[in-house]
Amino acid sequence: MKPGWLYMLLAGVLVVWVLLPIFLIAALAFSDRSSVFAWPKGLLPQQFSLETLAFFFGVEGVWKAIRNSLAVAGMTLVFSVLLGAPAGYALARYRFAGADAYRLLILMTRAFPLAILAIPLAVRFLQLGIYDTPFGVALVHTALALPFAVLVTSSLFLGIPKELEEAAWTLGCNRIQAFLRVVLPLALPGLAATAIFAFVISWNEVFAATLLTLRERTLPAFLLASLNDSPLPFRFAGGFFLIVPALVFIFLIRRYLFTLWGIANR
């Protein structure tokens, strides 16, 4: 028999592996300028301070980039749920010719490099007048988030017994009423998780956002474009700020993580 404490030790090491780098960047973000440039560094900053973060938020363009990021992520969230949930419902409730082809299309879209989409779209968006707008970026991010939205909502609706819906029909609801009153309330937490996931995908995406914007940068695009000529405190504070919402979101949707990624097995 293997001793259980060895497993716990290994698991603990992995926890440190994940958390230590996050702690280190947080320590830098919450320190003053001299601590950021101090050498050698301790695990804790010499001086706890909001100077570095304040400096980051004081840089011209940062707030605008945050606003753009929120706008793009918000639109991505709405688009991918509105487009994805009906398709997920159809896959869960109906057998129809072409369902398998549709599933294949969805899986294929997950397997394409982003560069192949972003470059021609940048050219085309320029002609359409949506280049350098949050809307244009949100369209591309929706294309990234939509496959997940479809697959997750499909397994979500599969988990809600069809009998409940049919009972509502016999009690005099039409299809739409039955969906709104019976299915939707039950599906709401899962739909919220889908929405949050779409938000995170968009919030984190940098390649397409950089190619598709010039002045209306999202936060990652803004950071990337100014990366090589910005001082270290700015980069560290920016990196930390990018991570914070992700931590919260992963905590909120942790119950659905396996539906989000494990779905790939089916």
Partner: protein, 282 residues
């Protein structure tokens, strides 16, 4: 059923139209963009790409990064998934912490590891504390591309192992416990059970994880930019520079098509090497 056969199509249609416009069409356009110029069909863009100073290194480092990162991630994730099954207490906590990196972007991960590898960073501080170096060492410079390479590997393994882990844990949950128990009854050692029972049954999940991670590794971009700028050229980075800095969509598209080509080839290779036997499943 009444005449409701049109309902699923109505529900699916918006997403199909959307994907046609934002996937199929750009895909076609990228292909055209890479083989056409103002006067017609041409291989000019591919020739310019291949003749570029950065091309060989970009191709070399992208492939090497993929070949290094993906096996590390799959091995580590498999270990983590099995470890999770052996832990008695606190599984939910470990599960949450280990999946945190799922929400972290590649750019942020690059910046986090920049804090570690930079000249006055934590790595040098640590090395000084244990007496290996006296003065800060410059790791991430063009003179030491291998150190940038190592930093990128560390950042990618740190950030993106969680995806593989989740896919594999989900796959392990699908394997009926009875199989392992039956093997145990027949006297299989834990080691034999892993190789003869768990691993073959996990093959579909492994396949998905390998394909997904390989494709993502082939388009590695922001981590590299954050850690080494263009000192460690990669394919996606070159596509970005050709589009943004040189204003040449043709060559940028050629790079994109090359990334797609390698991705498709890798996917086909995995599908062929790891053909899942239908009869074994059903």
């Amino acid at each position: 059923m009444r005449s409701e056969r049109y309902i699923p199509y109505v529900l699916v249609l918006p997403s199909v139209v959307f994907l046609l416009f934002l996937f199929a069409w750009p895909l076609l356009e990228a292909l055209l963009l890479s083989v056409r110029n103002s006067s017609g069909w041409t291989l000019e863009h591919f020739q310019r790409m291949a003749a570029d100073l950065y091309f060989k290194d970009a191709l070399k480092y992208t492939l090497l990064l993929t070949l290094t990162i993906v096996p590390l991630q799959v091995g580590l994730a498999l270990g983590m998934a099995l470890l999770l099954g052996s832990i008695a207490k606190g599984r939910d906590l470990f599960l949450y912490v280990w999946t945190i990196p799922l929400g972290i972007s590649d750019l942020a991960a690059g910046i986090v590891w920049l804090a570690i590898f930079t000249e006055r960073g934590y790595l040098n501080s640590f090395l000084q504390a244990v007496g290996v170096i006296q003065q800060p060492q410059l790791w991430l410079s063009y003179e030491t591309p291998w150190m940038i390479f190592l930093a990128v590997v560390a950042a990618e393994v740190w950030r993106a192992t969680a995806i593989v882990f989740v896919i594999l844990v989900a796959g392990l949950q699908l394997i009926p416990k009875e199989y392992g128990e039956a093997a145990e009854v027949f006297g299989a050692t834990p080691w034999q059970r892993f190789w003869k029972v768990t691993l073959p049954l996990l093959r579909p999940s492994l396949q998905v994880a390998l394909i997904l991670r390989t494709i993502l590794a082939l388009e590695v971009f922001a981590v590299v930019v954050a850690l080494g700028g263009r000192n460690l050229p990669v394919l996606a980075g070159e596509a970005y520079y050709w589009y943004n800095a040189y204003q040449n969509p043709g060559v940028a598209a050629a790079y994109a098509v090359l990334i797609l080509g390698i991705s498709v080839a890798a996917t086909l290779l995995y599908l062929r090497l790891m053909r899942t036997k239908q009869e074994a499943v059903g």
